[in-house]
Amino acid sequence: MLRYIGKRILYMIPVLLGVTLLVFFIMHLAPGNVAAMILGENATAEQIAELEHEMGLDRPLLAQYAAYLGGLLRGDLGTSYTSGESVTAKIMACFPYTVRLALVAAVVSVLLALPLGILAAVKQNTWVDNVSMVISLIGVSMPIFWLAVMLILLFSLKLGWFPVYGAKSWNSIVLPAISLGFMNMASIARTTRSSMVETLRQDYIRTAYAKGLSKGAIVIRHAFRNGMLPTITVIGLEIGQMLGGAVLTETVFAWPGVGRMMIQAINGRDTPTVMGCIVLLTVCFSFVNLIVDLLYGVVDPRVRTMYR
């Protein structure tokens, strides 16, 4: 098991190297001169050249990349072009907000999705099934930012229950978490339903009924545990998607997380900050995927034996 984890982490290294290389070169495709932009319109060519030299922008792109990578290994993501602050410090100030939002949203979506999916599977082809699948289809189809705007309209502007934006009071996380969680709820519920439907048809479920077990015990202890694997995969994937979706939710609600900072950095042409945000979110995404793979082993003993 430990060997497997080690192997997976080692495997992440080339992928992350590839990601930084890719993003670095894409970001440097951007037209325009950074030094000229920082110095403003009145700068002379000499001043621009001097600042470029100071920032290392006159060196070949590969050398710049190597320097960036060196910094990255020491936890130094460079300095922001717009504010001159350390990018690492800037990101670390925002990161807890994104993590909190993603976790609360994940809890919201799982708590809603599992009962919905299981209920739909148990009551397959009844109105309960239809209603819960219609809810989840609408959830999949709804643009996340539209839901966010509608939630603000109803709960903040009309009813005045929650703040419109920001993260100042304890209840300001409610609307962002619901809008981020709802979309994911839908796909988790759909996956849970289909895997539960399949599991409930298995012979061992019939055996359990024949033994005289109660329906609740069969659904929870026999069917649910076996039908969980696809659900776990989807939950993991969805948490990854949340990191992307958080960009939208955070922007709508002015939630001070990494996603909103990234959009502000893009608008300000602050390349080091954009790079830092992408690297961080990608590392998180990869780790979530790793954890999902490891959870397979916890849930399913058959998978566990394959690690040895």
């Binding site: 590839g18 951007a30 539209w146 893009i266």
Partner: protein, 302 residues
């Protein structure tokens, strides 16, 4: 040599004769799809939407309804005259939504078509040849897939600048690895079938074998994924426009309409509601069709 070549062609024709008559699978799938009410509803909606976007100019003149501003008519709630109301410059929202459908749909279709073409070729090559080629292509895909799709698109648009072409490029690139993976696994599934071996044995060239014998036999998952992918791409287009990284305001893309309507949400909520409902219904229709196609193409349900 000449004779040998002709022989190969003839042999290939014989091979075709022996295969199942064309289109029979398509017809059967279509009939099965038509039994699924939800999928039919989705299909009808999409056909209507495509017709509306094709004939947008006949329905509403672009210049007078979508560009010219009538300040005296600004921010009017939906009425008999303006079914969807008017925006902050007095332009008819229905006309803008109709013309917006053109932009949203064509970006979605163009980006997915491009992604499918590039991803499909990469995936087919990787699956067919295996070994080193497969490894290189798939590891490159891993790198792309390690970044969530939305983030990848944001980075590309941020670097290239916000325009419709760049948006299509960004969304296409971000869907290439997904298609490469799907096509690769589909190709792996049929690569060692007897009919492929037969085609090779009679001397059909590699490219032709892939295009003529392998790809048509793994179309199922590709079609399903294409439908669902168009839905995701339309949603992402709207999201990028909403963030100010996609289509810019005077052009009536749905996400851009929603974004500019957000400012007036307190008193003119319809400006943000209606474009959102359009996006949602379109994605819903594509999802219903995609799910229907998946069921119709799945041989286990036969």
């Amino acid at each position: 040599m000449e004779v040998g070549k002709r022989n190969n062609k003839q042999r290939e024709e014989e091979l075709d004769f022996a295969s199942i008559p064309k289109n029979s699978g398509f017809k059967e799938t279509f009939f099965r799809l038509c039994r699924n009410k939800a999928a039919v509803a989705g299909m009808v909606f999409l056909v209507l939407l495509i017709l509306i976007s094709v004939f947008a100019d006949v329905l509403f003149d672009y210049q007078t309804t979508c560009v010219d501003q009538t300040i005296s008519q600004r921010l009017q709630w939906p009425s008999a005259e303006h079914w969807f109301g008017t925006d902050e410059f007095g332009r008819d929202l229905l006309a803008r939504v109709v013309h917006g459908s053109r932009i949203s749909l064509s970006i979605g279709v163009a980006a997915v078509a491009f992604g499918l073409l590039v991803g499909g070729i990469l995936g087919a090559v990787a699956g067919f040849f295996g070994g080193m080629v497969d490894n290189v292509i798939m590891r490159a895909c891993d790198v792309f897939l390690a970044v969530p799709m939305m983030l990848m698109a944001i980075v590309i648009v941020a670097a290239l600048g916000a325009s419709i072409t760049n948006l299509v490029v960004a969304l296409a690139i971000s869907s290439v690895p997904t298609f490469a993976r799907i096509v690769r696994s589909a190709v792996l599934g049929v690569r060692d079938m007897e009919y492929v071996e037969a085609a090779r044995a009679v001397g059909v060239k590699t490219g032709r074998t892939i295009a003529r014998y392998i790809l048509p036999n793994c179309m199922g998952p590709i079609i399903v994924q294409t439908t669902l992918r168009i839905a995701a791409t339309i949603s992402n287009t709207a999201a990028l426009s909403f963030l100010g990284l996609g289509v810019k305001p005077p052009q009536p893309e749905w996400g851009a309409l929603l974004s500019s309507g957000r400012e007036f949400i307190r008193d003119s909520a319809y400006l943000a509601c209606i474009p959102g409902v359009c996006i949602m219904l379109t994605i819903l229709a594509l999802n219903l069709l995609g799910d229907g196609l998946r069921d119709a193409l799945d041989p286990r349900l036969k």
